[in-house]
Point group: C2
Chain length 457, copies 2
């Protein structure tokens, strides 16, 4: 097993409490953990074996694992069927035949394996140790890490994560059925390059997506991408039209880009999941920002309707006319004398936000937050994070009181100390108005496509 990965496991997650054995014929101990020459020499029964040996030793390892009574094997090992070389592909086929005959499950090869925070099992030391309600599956290890890391930074947590590479034995449809049965799992996100058994995948996705929101990013949707997928996990990417139809039929959502998957996962796990319609009210800073944001919201298929006259009149009672607008977008955060600001003017700001949320034209509120760091009034990152958390709590209260979902727009949307609080309060945090608009538009479109399915969105 590779030094880096093993060290990470030893330091960060296992300790010895779960019965961890290192296997390496060239060493006696690894960081204080005794090291055995083979799995057969380990003194106790083994449940799961994690392997990072070169391809030419893998068959022997599998034989030994079967002899030892191991129940599952995960292999990082690359250089098998995905190379397109027939002798290497043959090794992979032999391994599958062996494990299937023995009733042992094999995860991979060519992948990162299992992330199960509930039992302290992880493949990257930086992933959160606390479990959550999202299951992540991904053939690619790199994309598994992107999804896990990015969504963790936004406050989400995972029931399980599985990177399954070439999917030689354990396949996508089995993971979908697992996600359906798993009580910890309420949401599913995944990255798929190819589907070996289309029929099994379709029926598993149908069962799962009906009852748990499921977002899948398909790699290889162009011919250039499909060629790369074939080099990567040996996957035959298949027709994107078929995969698309499959998602539409089952009520899953197909994301076209990684950002789209991440942003949709963020809003669907927040109170914005309950958004009623396409009408956005935007509270932001700067007229030019308001103009471009309105364009991007409209281009995403949402709307920016003017606030009702009576709402505008109510706002004008405490928002000065120069350099502001109360029509929608509400441009009042930089009003020099009386900016809307939960930290320095909480009472008035709460009142403005509630008036705006109570307008019948507001289906969802987008708001920028910040502006505390200005020329002549610099503040440190800790003070800013503190201010941001206060704003999150205020927005959470307003969301709770008015029932109108709030999306917070903040460039540094991955400050974990802030986004974790936001996620707990049901506030989605996204980096730009454009991405927020697209994510909410996706959600509304997705709900429409699910007509006739259980009302989970």
């Amino acid at each position: 097993m590779g030094g880096i990965f093993l060290s990470a496991l030893l330091d960060q997650h296992y300790g010895n409490q779960h019965g961890l054995y290192a296997v390496n014929p060239k060493m006696d101990r690894v960081r204080g953990v005794p090291c055995y020459p083979s799995v057969l020499d380990c003194p106790e029964p083994l449940d799961h074996v994690i392997s990072q040996i070169p391809a030419d030793g893998l068959t022997q390892l599998v034989d030994e694992c079967i002899a030892k009574g191991v129940r599952s094997i995960h292999s990082f090992t690359a250089g098998l069927s995905e190379t397109g070389e027939s002798d290497l592909a043959q090794i992979e086929r032999e391994i599958v035949a062996k494990v299937r005959a023995a009733g042992v499950r094999f995860v991979g090869p060519n992948c990162m394996g299992l992330y199960v925070p509930g039992v302290g099992l992880s493949f990257m030391p930086s992933l959160p140790r606390d479990p959550g309600n999202v299951l992540m599956l991904s053939q690619s290890g790199a994309n598994a890490n992107v999804i896990l890391r990015s969504l963790s930074q936004r406050g989400l947590r995972f029931s399980k994560g599985v990177s399954y590479g070439n999917g030689a034995d354990l396949q996508g449809h089995e993971l979908l059925d697992y996600a359906l049965a798993d009580r910890q799992t309420e949401y599913v996100v995944g990255y798929i390059e190819g589907v070996r058994d289309g029929r099994a995948f379709l029926s598993a996705l149908k069962r799962l997506a009906a009852v748990k929101p499921t977002v899948l990013l398909k790699g290889g949707i162009t011919s250039d991408g499909a060629r790369a997928a074939n080099s990567h996990t040996g996957s035959l990417a298949g027709s994107i039209a078929v995969f698309d139809a499959l998602c539409r039929q089952t009520g899953a959502w197909r994301a076209e880009r990684m950002d789209e998957l991440l942003d949709l996962a963020t809003v669907v796990t927040s109170a914005t999941r309950n958004v009623r319609g396409p009408n956005v009210t935007l509270i932001g800073a700067g007229g030019g920002f308001a103009v471009l944001s309105s364009d991007q919201i409209a281009l995403a298929g949402m709307r920016v309707p003017p606030l009702p006259e009576e709402t505008q009149a109510q706002l004008r009672e405490f928002i000065p006319i120069a350099g502001t607008s109360v029509r929608n977008p509400v441009d009042a955060n930089f009003g020099r004398d009386h900016p809307l600001d939960f930290v320095n003017d909480a009472e008035r700001t709460r009142r403005a936000f509630e008036v705006i949320c109570n307008a019948h034209t507001t289906d969802v509120l987008f708001t920028t937050v910040g502006g505390w760091r200005r020329p002549g009034r610099d503040i440190g990152p800790e003070e800013e994070a503190h201010h941001l958390r206060s704003a999150v709590d205020e927005l959470g209260d307003i969301q709770d009181r008015t029932g109108v979902p709030v999306v917070m727009i903040h460039e540094e949307y991955n400050i974990e100390a802030v986004t974790q609080r936001a996620h707990q309060r049901g506030i989605a945090v996204l980096p730009t108005v454009e991405r927020a608009a697209r994510a909410v538009a996706d959600l509304l479109e997705w709900r429409k496509l699910r007509e006739g399915l259980p009302d989970i969105l």
Copy 2:
């Protein structure tokens, strides 16, 4: 004049060497600079007056400036025609009549005014003090700041920046003609909400865009955006189809989003300006990344053709088979034993990059750079910036030797110490493969649209 803005000017730019006078009837001195009750009381002649007084005092100030013989006035003041209130719009009309009768130019109102780094004039203390070759015009102050700040972070520098707000007197077409005549200006970027004199704008843009690459972002391209533009600078956004036709006719490029403007400005001021065709070779890390990147490149209208067999064979001489691909995308940066890495394995990495650039299928090279920060081998931000600068120099040398433009993909594309070096070496740095692909595709499309115009792209 507002305390924040004046302080910023005093501290950062003016000093007293340019003859700066503060005017405020309520103060004697501002940070050591003597303060006069009115412009008429200033002891010397005045060239330019910067004003941030409320709207109701503006007419008197303009009268006094005219009496004093001032040549130009810039006013931050908001709360005039953009409010839609007839009495406030009337003030603006009167001011324009006065300055026109007197031959004085008025910038604004409702804007940030002038940024002229060559003479130490700026409206934000954080903008670079060294001048460059890009002229920026923007009605919006917020968007002026976004453009100036973002492009500065990418290493670009400015001849002049003008935020002209409502454009009551000084208008867009005059700035275009100025940009044409200005010898320091080689490129023009702008944010426009509305055009008051369509005919004058068209003919000025025709003269300018024929000989200097010009990228314009139009705000108010949807009806929601147009309504916001009207609230913001009193602009009538007009038809986007007309503005689009105007750009196509003149050889300017209309950007649809702020990112697009920034990214296109980045590539057009780099060696990528000379890209020959749509064929991208991508050197990157991770198979899943390669798949999604290929999809995004293809969706942007570019191509990811396989490298020629002989190039692949040459690469296989020093890139191991397991966990890598040499087809294109070349996935070799994370090869555990022999990663492509200019810092730790410069000789072999140079050889690989040159072999790849010399392939006839490579019109442009996209490459990720980094991977020095890994589990068990952490490095600080300074060491990383140093490594990044080394990589930039290596890529610059390869670009110079092979004539193939190189785009560096790096998430932290705004580390100025790195991007300034990159800009000097003609290396474009962009945050994602998707954005790089779109920017280069835009450039190729733009060149095609300019058929018959001078060969400046």
